[in-house]
Amino acid sequence: MSARSAILGALALAALALLTFVPRLGNPYYLALAISLLQYTVLATAWGMFSGPTRYVSLATTAFFGVGAYTVAVLGEVLPWPLVLLIAAALGAILAALVGLSTLRLSGVYFVIFTFGLTELIRQLVVWFEVNKSRVLGRYVFVDITQSDIYWQLLLLTVAVFLLGWLIARSRLGFALRVIGEDETVAKHCGIDTTFAKVALFAISATIMTLVGAIMAPRWTYIEPSIAFNSMISFQVLIMALLGGAHRLWGPVLGAVPLTLLFELLSARFPNTFTIILGCIFLLIVYLLPRGVAGLFEKLPAKLRGENIKRVAA
């Protein structure tokens, strides 16, 4: 176990070192691609952080991402940047805590649909407010933030997310969550405050997503609800995390990176048949990689050790 941790740690450091070189390549396309990779890595990891251990499938990623982006749209030009980020994070955390407290008693698909409905509700309310109160729909953000600024912020956030995830896994909270994931009733009997644990984790994960939205917003100049609250983000993140394997901290990365690259390759090579090919690949993945990419990596050492992995649903 410790050898594996060391290897993983070394791999992570190597990846980080490589990533710091990207802005120096001076190629805006590589930078854009790297931004995209980091964006989805952070979102998927944050998603897996909550949904992996608790097994709640959330479609609220877009809601938090959008709140972050909209905070920048409203405040980006009037307040200093760090303050904007701080406000965005606070909004995300508060929203998540409220939602978490009221909804985490829902289980299974009810939670899935609830989170989706929540996203739409927030979007509708933002639209209604903009239309009737501020009388503009679509805001322009002209802030002085370059592409490499965005990149560095995302890289920093990525490091923070992994550190945080690692710390949580080693804390009492992480242990409590694993017990909840196995059996919530048992967890309650062990004296674990299940509600607190779940809400806390939900809030942490949501705050990270909100920050991603806020950091990404200056890339587009123009923000309107359909751009900020694009529900495809929720689905993409969900698929990436599930593909990678949400039951491991490093699992979602293994889904986010190849899928982002795949989308990029396909939309470039086959703009007309992109969707069909994407769908086929998706189906292939589901049938050939039932446990996500992380499952592939786990299989190998397990075979060497001659153990049987107990199947855990992602």
Binding site: Y29, V127, G138, R219, S226, N230, A268, Y287
Partner: protein, 424 residues
């Protein structure tokens, strides 16, 4: 063999089948990939002008892009290459196209452009469809010094954006202008005693509807029109009957809807069904679509909408015929942004040919100062915007003619009051 055994063996057969199918699909994908890569390597060797674009082939913008933008890009490339290409100095160079799908997503659109510029090293870029995406890609095109001929964006910030990004050209005008033209037309009709002064207005709760309604609101009140109804509805509303019914009860002289294509059709349908027939019936995006005529046939007569074109001009008639011949299923262009989009491509071509080489800064300069012969007539930009737009069109005898501003060449007189709806 027991039933369960049988089922299991059948199941195994099924699984084998699936594996076989999946393997074959994987091979197919690999082969197609390889073929495409090979083709693009060959194309590299030719001397050509590389033109790239990212367009919404999936997602919510697909409907607009498929009607207005994609057929015109295809038509133009086909025609230019059939003529031997774009003239650079004394030789003609064919166009080579690189295209991506932006999935109606701002982030994808920006990244696709960065890819076009840095990886594919394209010479020129054609813009995406829609206001939001054109604004999203503005900074990138500006930073990299590519001309940006936005032919499908309506924004009030256009003059300001043109100043901020001198490489950007806003060919569809501002919503303030649109509202002004409409209100001028209405005022004239009222002066002629053809209509009274009650107006009912609905708008879609999206950039387009909100911009236009907030420009029209003060313009209408200043012109002393009475705004009897003024509400917005969200995107994705599937039944607009309550709105039409309520408005019908108010019996306004003028009905204005700043709507999107599905709602434009639904509002018209509902108005016809409830027999709501105001003297002026004006709907938004989609009124100028050929689909509108296909659906409502005789009932289009007298319907006003945003856009319009000089339907009598020979250039437009010729364009219509070529578009029909080139597009899939003989589709017609819409009567608003389609012709403008095609004209923007003609302008780009003329500017490149005048410069005579791939010099983007010089092409931008030429676009700013030169004058161009296009299907929509002579175009000369002032402050990166045309001086002449069609803002109100009306279906007359199966064609959507421009009727306002009245000073435009080819403007027809409005048919008011609108004829009654007929049974289909």
């Amino acid at each position: 063999m027991s039933a369960s055994q049988w089922r299991r063996s059948k199941h195994i057969r099924e699984e084998n089948m699936t594996t076989f199918l999946t393997r074959r699909a994987a091979l197919l994908v690999a082969a197609t990939c390889a073929a495409t890569l090979g083709l693009s390597a060959i194309a590299e060797a030719q001397s050509s002008i590389k033109i790239g674009y990212a367009i919404s082939r999936t997602g919510p913008n697909t409907g607009g892009a498929a009607v207005t933008t994609i057929p015109n890009y295809d038509l133009w490339v086909k025609e230019v290459n059939a003529a031997g290409g774009i003239k650079l100095g004394d030789k003609r160079v064919p166009i080579e196209v690189v295209q991506y799908d932006d999935r109606s997503n701002a982030e994808e659109a920006v990244r696709a452009l960065e890819r076009l510029i840095n990886q594919d090293k394209v010479d020129f870029i054609l813009p995406p469809w829609g206001t939001g995406l054109n604004l999203a890609v503005g900074p990138t095109l500006n930073r990299e010094g590519y001309p940006h001929l936005a032919a499908t964006a309506v924004t009030d910030r256009a003059p300001e954006l043109a100043k901020r990004w001198p490489n950007s050209f806003w060919l569809l005008g501002t919503s303030a202008d649109a509202a002004k033209s409409l209100v001028e037309l209405l005022s004239k009709l009222r002066d002629e005693k053809k209509i009274g002064d009650t107006v009912a207005m609905v708008s879609i709760a999206d950039g387009f509807g909100i911009d236009l309604s907030s420009a029209a609101r003060p313009a209408l009140t200043n012109a002393k029109f009475k705004l009897a109804y003024d509400k917005s509805y969200p995107i994705g509303t599937q039944d607009l009957a309550p709105i039409v019914n309520e408005i019908k009860a108010l019996n306004p002289d003028v009905f204005i809807a700043f709507s999107y294509p599905p709602d434009t059709l639904a509002l018209t349908e509902q108005a016809r069904i409830t027999g709501f027939n105001p003297k002026v019936f004006y709907t938004g995006v989609g009124t100028a679509f050929p689909l509108y005529r296909a659906k409502f046939a005789k009932n289009t007569e007298g319907v006003m909408g945003i856009g319009g074109w000089s339907g009598d001009s020979p250039a437009i008639k010729d364009y219509l015929a070529r578009h029909k011949a080139s597009a899939a299923n003989g589709a017609e262009p819409d009567r608003w942004a389609s012709a403008v989009t095609y004209a923007s491509l003609q302008m780009l071509q003329q500017a490149i040919e005048r410069v005579g080489k791939i010099d983007r800064a010089a092409v931008i300069k030429d676009l700013q100062t030169g004058s161009f012969d296009t299907v929509i007539g002579k175009v000369k930009l002032e402050n990166n915007m045309p001086t002449r737009f069609w803002w109100v069109g009306q279906w007359q005898n199966g064609e959507f003619y421009g009727i306002a501003p009245a000073k435009n060449e080819g403007a027809r007189t409005a048919i008011v009051p609108k004829p009654a709806w007929v049974a289909p």
